[in-house]
């Protein structure tokens, strides 16, 4: 952990806040403490809201949860939908899904990956990368990109739309659909729907490959800058299939140290509490998970595109696997750690997801109509995990004999990345701000580092719009630390 987490004498220092951090999903704030010589003493990414979704879900019937939990966040609802339904498959007592049902869920999920990665790269990140970190701030947005690079902006819009259409045909709606139900899927894919997606997929593969090449060539223009920006060593975690290839939908957990050595592998995710631990810190509502075996100081890790592309032994589709090898070659046998590599890895994943979509559409199983698994004995507790666009997403539930949820714990991707994002901005602050007069362009460097993680701060705080909530934050011994109330006190 960096020494910049907590300054020794904060009262003597001046404070700069970036509030809110822009072009991220949700509300986050960065504070910097500097001395009179502009030397940096403390840097923190804070999550200032807390909206406790877990409490809201308690008491609800389990079959409702995969749909309601999507309201956590409008950015990648499918991820929550699928992580929850994977847990509820088990709670409801269903056995393995028929091939068609699992493939339809995968199709939906890959659509979400393409959609989310396209939004992130083209709308949120490309203004920095294509126009410059300290370019004119009023033009440093998607409108500026559309003016200078119309073709790229168009491809971004259409890739996103393609992902949304895949979701619509599998989930019934572009956002907040209902496709996956405990035990399987509620809707088969029709031949006409398959054709509609299939028609565009080759173009999407070509464009996403083009986007990977564009980032690679940006890197070639300033390799030293791209390699070193926000570079720091960390462990990484992701999900892999039995063969070690990246699997977005199902598999075992694999964690690697900064030198590429294995920390754990093929861990059954239902035992995640044995390998991971969550820790609360007084200055942020977002928890800090770490790998138990390494402890809180050293055990934090990265998740998301850069982590999972590298912890995986390979990618199962040819074009994406070639691109993965090209990117990893820059590490000379070790994982690459520069923060901006996140964008590169993210686009490799978008390419991978497009190729996976094509393969699924060409698989005769995808038009099958056997959508529900056989039912066995109910269970009281289960965990569902998927690789969401932003990284590993855990949903853990207990359900009582009346079918009501009694316990819910979510570790969302952005929470997994909490410490890593803090380390990234500390690294950038030391590299670019330490001892210099702070300017907007320099502060944007900090935001660039955060944006590279594509944090979804709204879902990390379990946002739920204006739902009435009373939230108790309790410490490990069960003592009440904080109670937040909102829109309460109505008649019953």
């Amino acid at each position: 952990m960096s020494r910049l987490e907590t300054a020794e004498n904060p009262q003597k220092l001046k404070r700069i806040a970036i509030d809110p951090v822009t072009r991220v999903e949700g509300h986050g704030k960065v504070t910097l403490l500097l001395d009179d010589a502009d030397r940096i003493h403390q840097v923190r990414l804070h999550i200032v809201e807390f909206r406790g979704f877990e409490i809201f879900i308690e008491g609800r019937p389990y079959w409702e949860v995969p749909v309601t939990v999507q309201r956590l966040c409008g950015i990648c609802p499918v991820s929550h939908h699928l992580a929850a339904v994977k847990a509820m498959d088990l709670i409801a007592g269903y056995g393995p899904l028929p091939a068609t049902a699992e493939k339809l869920r995968r199709l939906m999920h890959y659509g979400q990956i393409v959609q989310s990665h396209a939004v992130h790269f083209f709308h949120l990140a490309s203004p920095d990368l294509l126009l410059g970190f300290d370019s004119e701030p009023t033009r440093r947005n998607i409108v500026g990109v559309a003016q200078d690079f119309p073709e790229i902006a168009k491809q971004g819009v259409l890739l996103r739309k393609f992902g949304q259409e895949v979701i619509r045909h599998t989930a019934g709606k572009r956002i907040h659909g209902t496709g996956a139900i405990p035990g399987g899927m509620n809707k088969a894919l029709t031949p006409a729907e398959r054709e509609e997606i299939r028609r565009d997929v080759d173009q999407m593969i070509e464009w996403s490959l083009g986007a990977v090449h564009m980032v690679a060539s940006l890197h070639r223009t300033k390799p030293e800058f791209y390699n070193r920006f926000g570079e720091f060593d960390s462990s990484m975690m992701g999900m892999v299939g039995d063969d070690g290839a990246l699997d977005f939908y199902h598999g075992g957990l694999r964690a690697q140290a900064a030198d590429g050595s294995t920390i754990f592998d093929h861990v059954d995710y239902s035992t995640y509490e044995e390998v991971l631990q969550e820790e609360a810190k007084s200055w942020s509502y977002m928890k800090f998970p770490h790998i138990r075996a390494l402890g809180a100081e050293k055990g934090w890790y990265k998740v998301g595109p850069l982590a999972r592309v590298q912890v995986a032994s390979r990618l199962s589709t040819p074009l994406a696997d070639i691109e993965r090898k090209k990117m990893m070659a820059l590490g000379n046998g070790k994982p690459v750690m520069g923060t901006l590599f996140y964008h590169w890895a993210r686009l490799i994943e978008a390419l991978h997801a497009c190729e996976l979509i094509r393969d699924l559409l060409d698989d005769p199983d995808i038009l099958g109509t056997d959508l529900m698994a056989d039912k066995g004995d109910r269970r009281g507790e289960a965990v569902g995990v998927i690789e969401a666009p932003r990284g590993t997403l855990f949903h853990h539930y207990r359900v009582d004999e009346n079918d009501q949820v009694t316990f819910c714990n979510l570790i969302v991707s952005t929470t997994n990345n909490n410490q890593a994002m803090n380390e990234a901005i500390r690294s950038v602050a030391l590299q670019y701000l330490d001892g210099r007069k702070v300017s907007e362009g320099l502060l944007n460097h900090i935001e660039v580092a955060i944006r590279a993680y594509d944090p979804c701060l709204s879902c990390a705080t379990h946002a739920l719009g204006q739902m009435p909530l009373e939230v108790d934050l309790v410490d490990a011994s069960g003592d009440l630390i904080h109670r937040a109330r909102r829109n309460m006190g109505a008649p019953t």
Partner: protein, 239 residues
């Protein structure tokens, strides 16, 4: 002598049989009048007021006013539909009608009416009730946060099932539906999944368990046709 006589609904003649209410006659003739607490198998209830019409210039409930020859009835007017929207808005804010997370979505009469009458916002401040779920029964779940007090369950249990499982309690704004058992729990009644009352709730308050979202978007009752179109089409098919 013919059994048929007519009244005028929004200027169109509607034939009716003696004894029919204006709502019954209109629906049978394929003319929709918005309604919520009405059910063809039960006696008129007249509580939701969604069916409010003007008969010869005076307000009345279409579900309780008998059809008479020569009546001039107006229903589909900006004024009456505006009133209906207000009623719907009040129903929406009084309960927790959070459609995107509700398994009745697409099959819910309240939601369907809100779409059909173009209710765009809830307008009023939400009450946000927090009534506990009753999940005690093995096969049926109750979420009274979504109850609109049409009393169809009360009526069905009493009149069809012969059980009296549900009752209305409290008065005025505090009135609400309760389960008639010493514990107040559904599990402590003789309620069964096969009861009429288990399948009659027009909203998502009384739900057979473990059905959830089994019907995909696109195949639900009101996915293709609006509630009015559907009622009109059914009438034509029956005729």
């Amino acid at each position: 002598m013919s059994d048929y006589e007519t009244f005028l609904l929004d200027g169109r003649p509607v034939r009716f049989e003696r004894g029919q209410t204006i709502l019954e006659a209109a629906l049978a003739a394929g003319h929709y009048i918005p309604n919520l607490c009405h059910h063809p198998e039960f006696k008129p209830h007249g509580s939701c007021k969604l069916c409010t019409i003007k008969v010869n210039g005076r307000y009345g409930s279409a579900c309780t006013v008998k059809a008479m020859p020569g009546q001039e009835v107006s229903s589909d007017t900006p004024e009456l539909n505006g009133n209906r929207r207000v009623l719907l808005q009040m129903l929406f804010v009084e309960g927790s009608h959070f459609c995107p997370g509700c398994e009745k979505s697409g099959n819910c009469a309240l939601q369907a009416l809100a779409y059909d009458l173009e209710m765009l916002t809830p307008h009023y401040a939400h009450f946000y009730p927090s009534r506990p779920l009753d999940a005690s029964h093995p096969d049926v779940l109750i979420d009274f946060n979504r109850c609109i007090m049409c009393e169809l369950c009360v009526r069905a249990s009493r009149e069809v099932d012969g059980k009296n499982v549900f009752a209305l309690a409290g008065r005025g704004v505090a009135s609400h539906v309760v389960v008639n058992s010493p514990s107040g729990k559904l599990a402590d009644t003789d309620f069964a999944l096969t009861d009429k009352a288990a399948h009659i709730c027009p909203v998502g308050a009384i739900l057979p368990k473990r059905v959830g979202f089994a019907v995909p978007i696109g195949s639900r009752t009101y996915d293709v046709d609006a509630i009015s179109t559907l009622a009109e089409r059914r009438a034509t098919e029956e005729a």
